[in-house]
């Protein structure tokens, strides 16, 4: 799986491409964690637009990052899921703790507003 990182202000956007399965998950976790450290980002957006396949490994990957980011000031968002992927994340209740937006820009806007208020 390929990941392209993008930074907008305090936010790290991880755009994932390809198949996210248990085989790919290990390295995805590591790369995202080290990017979070390197950019000292406060917020994290997962862009799933180009993910062609995902199984439950994606849940673990996202929730793991959520736990790691932990602190109250940090924000996380997920964007661009296909229907099957949304289904899987829903099953685990991921969207009850992490917001879903259509685009990364939208997510960043919301984060910015939160910071102002």
């Amino acid at each position: 799986m390929e990941i392209i990182f993008n930074v907008m202000g305090n936010t790290l956007i991880a755009e994932l491409l390809g198949e996210l399965d248990h085989h790919a998950a290990d390295s995805v976790r590591q790369r995202i964690d080290s990017a979070l450290d390197n950019y000292r980002a406060q917020n994290l957006v997962f862009d799933f637009n180009k993910v062609t396949f995902m199984d439950s490994s994606g849940i673990g990957m996202i929730l793991g990052r959520y736990r790691k980011m932990g602190e109250k000031d940090n924000n996380m968002a997920i964007v661009g899921c296909s229907k099957p992927i949304r289904n899987i994340l829903n099953m685990a209740g991921v969207f009850s703790i992490i917001d879903y937006y259509n685009t990364a820009e939208e997510a960043v806007e919301v984060f910015d507003r939160k910071e102002v208020s």
Binding site: H22, D26, F53, R67, M91
Partner: protein, 144 residues
């Protein structure tokens, strides 16, 4: 049954994509929707990764898969390992239950299989291995 397929491959995570692709090739014969195809692939991916991760503790071992159509539009998929087996099957199938002590597993594999397939049966004995049998009716509802 003429359309049965038996497959044997090594239970390592590297083979997860291959296991999915074979399942897709098999099920494609029944003209599923793209969504159904994704659901079957996901379920197979979960069962196969469980065999590799839990059954064989990431050390490898043979995984057998069997595919059959029990009717024109109903597919049955069986995924078997000869790994450590499961002590308490009912508990293992609970959503969020995982024996993984790290931060990486969500314990949602069986839940995903149950949601995407119509029926799932787990046979397992500690020390002997695990067989997951899944059945899915492909929706011919649209009359094509």
């Amino acid at each position: 049954m003429g359309k049965e397929l038996k497959v044997q491959l090594e239970g390592i995570l590297e083979n997860q994509g291959l296991a999915r692709a074979i399942a897709a090739a098999y099920v494609s014969q029944a003209d599923p929707t793209v969504e159904e195809l994704t659901e079957v692939k996901t379920a197979v991916s979960e069962a196969f990764s469980n065999a590799a991760i839990h059954g064989y503790g990431m050390k490898g071992g043979t995984v057998n898969m069997e595919f059959a159509f029990t009717s024109k539009d109903t597919v049955m998929i069986k995924i078997m390992d000869k790994g450590v087996g499961i002590e308490n099957i009912a508990m293992a199938m609970e959503p969020l239950y995982t024996t993984d002590t790290g931060q990486n597993r969500s314990g949602m594999g069986f839940t995903v299989m149950e949601s995407f397939m119509d029926r799932i049966k787990v046979d397992s004995k500690p020390g002997e291995g695990t067989a997951v049998t899944m059945i899915k009716k492909l929706d011919t509802y649209y009359g094509i």
